[in-house]
């Protein structure tokens, strides 16, 4: 759907709307990266659609000059499904938060993954409900104190990677708003993937859950507590590149034995699943990417298989009779 006319820059994708996120919010970085990626991809504005639910993150479509819909809470993925199935040529992005996408929108999330519809789902995960001012979400940490859990939550969070893989995801990646370069790489991969692409983006909510990701991604910690996944490359990390992820007894461990480092394989489901279970180190990058039958194009093939029929034929088919 790329056109040959002159390429647009990231700026060309801006709208005239005043942006209403808090100063310092992680959402800004995501917005900039997405615009950048759209221009890198050489997308025409009219061929791109952003559909969001409700939440701070879901204000996103107002700020990108493509087609867009700011819909209702939790339904971005369901709506995006219809948009894509009707017109598979569009590049369709569902923008959602950890509340929007995984609490109220959880069912649409897992079913989209099952069907493998070629849309990109970006989950802005700040581990909190931002717009409603600070209640816990399904990704808030066990024990986290929030406005609705004054003594700490008693529910364990989802790991979005595990949930997605359990639902049959063909593409799952994790990245962070604090590293725009990595984020952009991942967004390019997501758009390239034919099937449902889930990109979980750690996004800091400075107001209600500041520094939620410090443990893994803070300046001090990130070298020793995050590892970048690259297909075919060993999972080595650490300030002095001195740590590696290892196969344990059917789980993954961290040690200093660099030469037995696990080689990342985006098609090894069991590896992807275990990566999500690592506790002291957070893998960033594409956990899984496999090619499987895609829903919207299969539907389209069904519709286009034969030449278009006329309803009048149908009305006259089967058993009819004349009255004269």
């Amino acid at each position: 759907m790329q056109s040959n006319s002159e390429k647009l820059s990231a700026k060309d994708f801006a709208t005239d709307q005043a942006i209403r996120w808090c100063p310092g919010c992680g959402d800004y970085a995501i917005l900039n990266s997405v615009k950048k990626v759209l221009s890198t991809l050489g997308k025409r504005k009219e061929d791109v659609v952003f559909i969001s639910g409700i939440g701070c993150s879901s204000r996103f479509p107002y700020y990108v000059d493509t087609y867009g819909m700011h819909s209702i809470h939790g339904r971005a993925v369901a709506i995006a499904t219809g948009t894509k199935v009707h017109n598979p040529l569009l590049s369709v992005w569902a923008i959602t938060g950890d509340g929007d996408g995984l609490a109220i929108g959880g069912n649409h999330f897992i079913h989209a993954l099952r069907r493998n519809i070629n849309i990109n789902i970006l989950i802005f995960n700040n581990e909190i409900y931002g717009l409603t001012k600070g209640q816990y979400s399904p990704t808030s940490q066990l024990g986290q104190r929030t406005k609705t859990s004054p003594l700490g939550t008693i529910e364990k969070p989802f790991d979005p990677a595990m949930l997605a893989l359990g639902a049959g995801a063909t593409f799952f990646a994790r990245t962070t708003a604090s590293d725009p370069k990595h984020l952009q790489e991942i967004l390019l991969r997501a758009e390239a993937h034919c099937g449902t692409s889930v990109v979980e983006i750690y996004q800091n909510c400075v107001i209600f859950n500041d520094e939620a990701f410090e443990q893994f991604l803070g300046k001090e910690n990130r070298d020793d507590h995050s590892v970048v996944l690259q297909h075919g490359k060993p999972l080595v990390f650490g300030k002095g590149l001195d740590k590696a992820v290892q196969w344990g007894h059917h789980e993954l461990l961290v040690s200093t034995a660099l030469d037995t480092a696990v080689i990342h394989d985006e098609q090894n489901l069991s590896l992807s699943f275990l990566l999500a279970r690592l506790e002291t180190v957070k893998p960033l990058g594409v956990y899984r990417c496999v090619q499987e039958a895609e829903y919207a194009s299969n539907m389209d093939d069904g519709v286009k298989k034969e030449s278009r029929k006329q309803v009048s034929e149908l009305l006259h088919s089967g058993s009819t009779w004349e009255i004269e």
Binding site: Q17, G68, V303
Partner: protein
Amino acid sequence: MKTTLEHIIILFSGDSGDGMQLTGTQFSDTSARMGNDIATFPDYPSEIRAPSGSVFGVSGFQVHIGAREIYTPGDQPDVLVAMNPAALKVKLPLLKKGATIIINDDAFDRSGFKKAGYEVSSLEAIGELKNFKLIHAPITSQTERALEAIDLDNKSKRRCKNFYALGLCYFIFSRDPNLTKAWIREKFEGKDALVNANIAALEAGYHFGETIEASISIYQIPEAPLEKGTYRQINGNTGIAWGLMQAAEASGLDLFIGSYPITPATDILQELSKHAGFGVRTFQAEDEIAAICAAIGASFSGALAVTTTSGPGLALKSEALNLAVMLELPLVVINVQRGGPSTGLPTKTEQADLLQVFYGRNGESPVIVLAASRPGDTFAMAFEAARLSLQHMTPVVLLSDGFIANGSEPWRIPDLREEYHHIPIHLAQASEEDFKPYNRNLQLVRPWAIPGTEGMQHRIGGLEKDFETGDVSYDPENQEKMVEVRAKKVSMVASNIPEQQVEGKTHGQLLVISWGGTYGAVRTAVKRLQVQGHEISLVHLTYLNPFPKNLGPLIANFKQVLIPELNKGQLLRIINAQFHCEAKGYHKVQGLPFTISELITAFEKELKLVEYAKQ
């Protein structure tokens, strides 16, 4: 000697496994082709497969055939075919006094009576039967005998007994058995044994009729004076599916249906799922919310988008329907009503979702509301729903019900090039300098700019938006203006729909206002009273929001208004509030349609009151 009848109602009934639906369908098809008008109504058990011979396993199929126009499957059957004691037990109370009952003697043995929960074990012991004419036929055993020579297992042979029963009825009602024979040949092509067996059973039944001719009455029903044309049978759900498909063709759009199965609406989804070749995309969603949301998404990208459901599903869709109202995108919502509240009586009929459709959303959220009246108008009404939604860029809810959905009628196939050929849509003009998504035309309709169209990128959403720019706006006066503009836009649809027709005089004593699937019964009752000289007229509404422009004046022309509904007075509340009148209601909430006779009684009573008040 043959008695000629104007019309007759026959009810085929037996066990779920007895093939009564097929028998009924054949009988009505043949009758239609012989030039009668007909209306039919199947009545399935609510269990998938109940224990054989039990009362909750009884399956019925009612056929009303006539030499004049037929509007309902009829109140009280004139003839009952009872394949087993359970069928007799369940259906006997429905029959007209003096009706004829064709009894499959073989099934009325001790075990049959017991399975049906009868305390007695012989027909003689059932006192009420004295009031009826019984025709005894050993249907099962005769069928077996007739099929002796055919190479088929006994179970399969016994399953042909419904054709024996059909043959007997064909003889009694002077139907041509050849149409069914042709059907059997086609249906079982390549399976000779089955072809032969079923035809043999049919003929045996027919001959049995000849044998007993002397002792029974034989009837004929002349052709009805139907409009010239090509006809077919249609049921309400199929009519809706096809009407939507035609609307897609007429608007040059592809049809998208997002749906989740629910009785009695599922058939629409099932029908549409067969028609990918017509550009139909069927999306069976994970739930009702996803179904309507996917339809909204498809509408955004330029489909004629539809979602189908029944009451509980509509409740789930209400939040998203409200979004569609805000977005001002076309969307057709089909709601096939069933018995409520909650899960209620899912396989029964009711008209109790009207208020939900009008008011079941937060805030001020008007939608266009239409209602189908009979299987034969569903095609037209579905087309109309799509037309209004596309022309006015706003959701339309089309109400049907379980009675219309499963009922069927002969339907004159319209000439699509004449009657349903074109729906103009309101696409944004590429030439527009400064495109604004909520820039309205004189009908207050905004333009539709579909993703993929260059230069018209825009954002829409559920927050209130500025009247001018369409951007999010928290301005108080703007909100009031937008609430009003959405209401006005819907009310202006009144200029794009026909004026209300009146059946009868346009003024007088009593005006009956009805809507939806009660049409046949109400109309018949009103006509009968008109023939008797009463000053009674009928307004049957198919446009419920907005109402036709002339409805208010019409109401004012009558002394009294009476609104019969299969609910506790829902249209009544709306009409009384809107027209400041004191209409009365007549209500029934039993999962069943009105009978003509109860309506006549109610109307007569009301007429008397009006007369009395005059004095």
